[in-house]
């Protein structure tokens, strides 16, 4: 593969994963974790790093094994690979960064069953070479991450008046009556619906009537 075509392949993967086929507002996957984790920007960052890492590596591993894996057990194998990477992250965090492990704790299961990871493994890892699968996974993960960071920023500022734990001017003063609903489940749904609406309107091509 010549260097220029490889670069344009990667460029294509990037534009798809980040914008045109974004996992959240296009494919509508990975919603569970979006809602649960976007309370705090810090937790979101940890979740996103975990997800990019898991999606890229799982997709690549599935791709490496794709010629050996029998068809009828391929889902179980994918699930096993995903669980493996997630547990490794969890074990390492528990040992070397316990506070962060505490934050990520309940969400570990959410990454394993995150439809994005499984979806990319099925859609791309099964039928493409490892390097492509890796980048596809990575860009989808990044597409997920930037949307989540937008949501988390809004939710944390409006709901708690802080950003990354630091007080934000005006929002952390008693003048701002915190929108607790932003920190609770309904707020998550509303915020996500809003983001999907905004991005679908600007990013998707207009269909003719």
């Amino acid at each position: 593969m010549s260097r220029s075509s490889k670069k344009s392949d990667i460029g294509k993967l990037a534009s798809e994963g980040l914008w045109q086929n974004n996992p959240i507002y296009c494919q509508v996957l990975g919603i569970c974790s979006t809602l649960a984790v976007t309370n705090l920007v810090l937790n979101t960052i940890v979740m996103c790093v975990g997800l990019v890492f898991t999606t890229a590596l799982s997709s690549m591993t599935v791709s490496l094994l794709r010629s050996f894996t029998p068809r009828n057990i391929r889902m179980m194998v994918e699930v096993l690979i995903i669980a493996f990477y997630v547990i490794i992250i969890d074990v390492l965090l528990k040992a070397y960064w316990p506070e962060m492990s505490g934050n990520l704790g309940p969400y570990v299961g959410l990454i394993i069953t995150n439809c994005i990871v499984m979806g990319r493994c099925e859609a791309c890892g099964n039928s493409n070479p490892p390097v492509m699968a890796f980048f596809d996974g990575m860009f989808n993960g990044l597409g997920y991450s930037f949307i989540l960071l937008i949501i988390a920023t809004v939710r944390e500022i409006l709901g708690m008046g802080t950003f990354l734990g630091f007080g934000v001017p005006y929002f952390s003063t008693p003048y701002w009556d915190k929108w607790i609903i932003m920190v609770m489940p309904p707020g998550a749904f509303f915020m996500l619906g809003l983001i999907v609406w905004i991005f679908r309107t600007i990013a998707l091509p207009k269909e003719s009537k």
Binding site: G30, V79, L80, F189, V196
Partner: protein, 200 residues
């Protein structure tokens, strides 16, 4: 604990899992298929029943696996791998059974079954059941209740969306957008149940 108090506790846990601690609207589990497959009541019913069945059965299987295999060996860190393999294998097995004995049912339901493997609610229910140290009967009640709760949520959503099918919804909001807003309102409504019944 004698059988009567256990059954009563299982009942309480079942009802609270369906309403006050709805696995979808309070714990955000299983939202992907909820948003994706709730366009019509018929499809939603199919998926909902499948979820109830798989959730109850896998809660039972996972309970047995956890307390008879993992605990004696002390391998708690394996629960993720074990549970997800049991769920995936069970769904695969059911798919094969249905395909063999009722091709009609397979046509209707077949596409949902792989979707259920990745449904976070199923794994989530198994993990909660283990963390809260439920006994076997209570665990079955919990699986059943969570499944029913998920079913209720998706049926309600499908009903609402079917009503909206002829309304003029802005282009960007059609599909997942409006579903999420409706889900938000439903979540608000379910918060009202919070004080009613407390499961363990």
């Amino acid at each position: 604990m004698n059988i009567n108090t256990e059954l009563w506790q299982a009942f309480v846990v079942c009802v609270s899992a369906a309403f006050t601690q709805n696995i979808l609207l309070s714990y955000f589990l299983g939202v992907c298929s909820f948003v994706g497959c709730s366009r019509e009541v018929k499809t939603a019913m199919g998926l909902g029943f499948a979820v109830i069945f798989v959730m109850t059965a896998t809660c039972a299987l996972n309970w047995l696996a956890y307390y008879y295999v993992l605990e004696p060996l002390g391998l708690y860190s394996f629960r993720f791998i074990l549970f997800i393999i049991i769920i995936a294998a069970f769904v695969q097995f059911i798919e094969m059974l249905i395909d063999k004995y009722s091709p009609v049912l397979y046509q209707k339901l077949g596409v949902f079954l792989p979707l259920i493997t990745v449904n976070c609610a199923i794994l989530g229910a198994a993990l909660f059941m283990v963390i809260r140290k439920y006994t076997f009967i209570v665990a079955i009640g919990y699986g059943l209740g969570s499944g029913i709760g998920w079913f209720l949520a998706i049926i309600a959503m499908a009903g609402i969306r079917q009503r909206l099918a002829n309304e003029r919804i802005p282009k960007g909001l059609q599909g997942p957008g409006i579903t999420l807003f409706i889900a938000g309102i439903m979540a608000l409504a379910f918060i009202g149940f919070t004080g009613v019944l407390q499961g363990k």
